[in-house]
């Protein structure tokens, strides 16, 4: 294995120098290697988040895959009203995958600070300045470590964040788990090419994983495996979106007006031209049903073949990760925007939805 550090840069490739009937030069390969490595690993950006929480249990949905090295975990803690310095909170992060493998917060893969081992207070006392006395915190998760601890790469992972507060004057203004761009080219991975393959006046190194063929493989990786997050909402288990309706309706907590669900505007990735089937996405939810009866969550969009239903098995009161469903977003609109809404129904009892995640599923 060889690793080569790289900076985050998207070089300009001058097509004029590679025009038809012109001889390509050695530098073209090197420039393309930098460019394709950046396409594959420089723009990672899947992000799961919690918009605000005074405390409680949240779940964040993440589509794991090879090629991602680190996840940044960021939180901004702030006062709620006038802060009392004896008030504090702890953060406890654990993870599980679709198969049911779990990584408890006590695992060495979870860094100190988000394993309920630190009581976070805000600086000062009796103040109500929301931002000057807020605390921005950051931790790192290694995908390799999480896999070593038991999670299966390629599956959907669910992070569980438990925010335990002592006192009501402190909360989490923002919490996010986001992918970190790659700062190195690793020859053991399916993309990226070290520049040492393209030495000046040297023969281009050939053979897997080197050679010019690696260029196209890297671009394909960037197209197929860099997932844009279109939508991610996480509500605490104590106040999820709910429905008791036997027909599709907007969920309580997700109503814009009357019986109309909230409308979420997204900007689909438009790489294959303008089409109602131009952008395939995958989506999942973290939910529970009060009884053994199941329900269905529906995603409406401008994409063809919709609406898209996600059938949810009954969980008898236990929170669970759904299967993954597919949908399409419309890329034909002038601004390239689409609007998505969610509706739900349940056979009997109550369907509660804590988290909804929608990300790319390139085809």
């Amino acid at each position: 294995m060889t690793t080569t550090p790289r900076t985050l840069i998207t070089p300009t490739f001058d097509l004029q120098t590679a025009k038809v009937r012109a001889t390509t030069r050695a530098t073209h390969g090197g420039t393309l290697a930098t460019l394709t490595s950046d396409a594959a690993g420089g723009h990672l950006g899947q992000c799961a988040r919690v918009f605000f929480s005074p405390g409680g249990t949240h779940n964040l949905i993440y589509w794991s895959r090879n090629g991602v090295k680190y996840l940044a975990v960021r939180a901004l803690l702030g006062p709620i009203g006038a802060y009392t310095i004896t008030h504090h909170l702890t953060l406890d992060l654990s993870a599980r995958d679709q198969t049911g493998n779990t990584v408890a917060s006590s695992s060495t893969a979870i860094p100190s600070g988000i394993k309920a081992d630190v009581q976070y207070h805000l600086p000062g006392n009796s103040f109500s300045d929301r931002w000057r006395n807020s605390s921005g915190l950051e931790w790192w998760l290694s995908v390799d470590e999480l896999v070593s601890a038991g999670l299966v790469i390629g599956e959907v992972w669910v992070f569980e964040l438990v925010i335990s507060t002592s006192g009501s004057s402190i909360g989490v203004e923002n919490f996010q788990i986001t992918e970190v761009p790659r700062f190195a080219v690793d020859s053991t991975e399916d993309f990226g090419q070290p520049l040492t393959d393209f030495l000046p006046r040297g023969v281009i190194v050939d053979g897997s994983p080197s050679g010019l063929q690696r260029l196209n493989e890297s671009v394909v990786w960037g197209y197929e495996n860099v997932f844009r997050t279109y939508h991610h909402r996480s509500y605490p288990h104590g106040s999820p979106l709910t429905t008791t309706s036997a027909t599709f309706t907007a969920m309580t907590g997700d109503v814009e007006s009357g019986s109309n669900p909230k409308k979420w505007i997204v900007r689909p990735r438009r790489l294959r031209g303008q089409s109602t089937s131009g952008c395939r996405v995958q989506w999942a939810t973290f939910y529970k049903t009060s009884g053994a009866s199941g329900g269905t969550l529906r995603l409406n969009s401008g994409g063809f073949g919709g609406p898209y239903d996600l059938v949810l098995a009954g969980t008898s009161g236990t929170w669970a990760l759904s299967n993954v469903a597919q949908a399409y977003l419309d890329t034909s609109a002038g601004e390239g925007l689409d609007t998505i809404t969610f509706q739900a129904k349940v056979t009997a009892g109550t369907l509660s939805v804590a988290t909804i995640g929608v990300v790319d599923d390139p085809e």
Binding site: T10, R132, G136, T178, D254, E256, R267, R269, R272
Partner: protein, 218 residues
Amino acid sequence: MTTTIDRYLKLATPLGAADPLRANQPLGAGVVQIIASNATAVCRQDSMRTLWEHPGGDVWADLAIPGLVETFRWQNTLALGTLACFAGLHTVRFYGERSVLPSLTVRARVSSATAATTGVVVLVRPSYGDPSVTYGYATDTTTSTSPTTIKATLQLLQSMTGERSLSPSPGSSTPATEPTESGDVREVAVFVGFWCTSNSSGNKAAVHSLTLSLFDPQ
């Protein structure tokens, strides 16, 4: 001459026996151009994404000095009639090969209070800290009492962002073979706020479906 046609053209991989990229073959201009175009298009598109959502709430408090968005009440909570949110600290990249950053857009569905104006302000700064209009902001308003889309767009400039060195240090079980990766990223911290000129808790505006997204440069 542009580097990309902003459209991804599929090349089979591997390209097989006729693969012009295999060893000892003359490198054709067409394939080189397609790869460069594809890679640049992917770099441009993969950075454009939704950064944050919020379900919204009811607002009714006006700006501290009516009409002057610089006096938005960032300290207020929803209970006091203002929706003021920290929308996260996000990595941003230049738009592909161009030395220009994406634009930042916040959208929401808003029903304004009766005979009142409801507004949104999006504000950025290079890192965590106090929300301040020093670095840059954008705003939009509506008087419609039926749900309508409101949008504020800010073209990000380098002066609005901060560069930071990241050296991830994850949990305590780092394998011995784990290579260390570290590098510099460009970041921007974003705040989003909503106000309403009704100044009456009995006459509220309804704000729904906040989304913060990166878009192509303006």
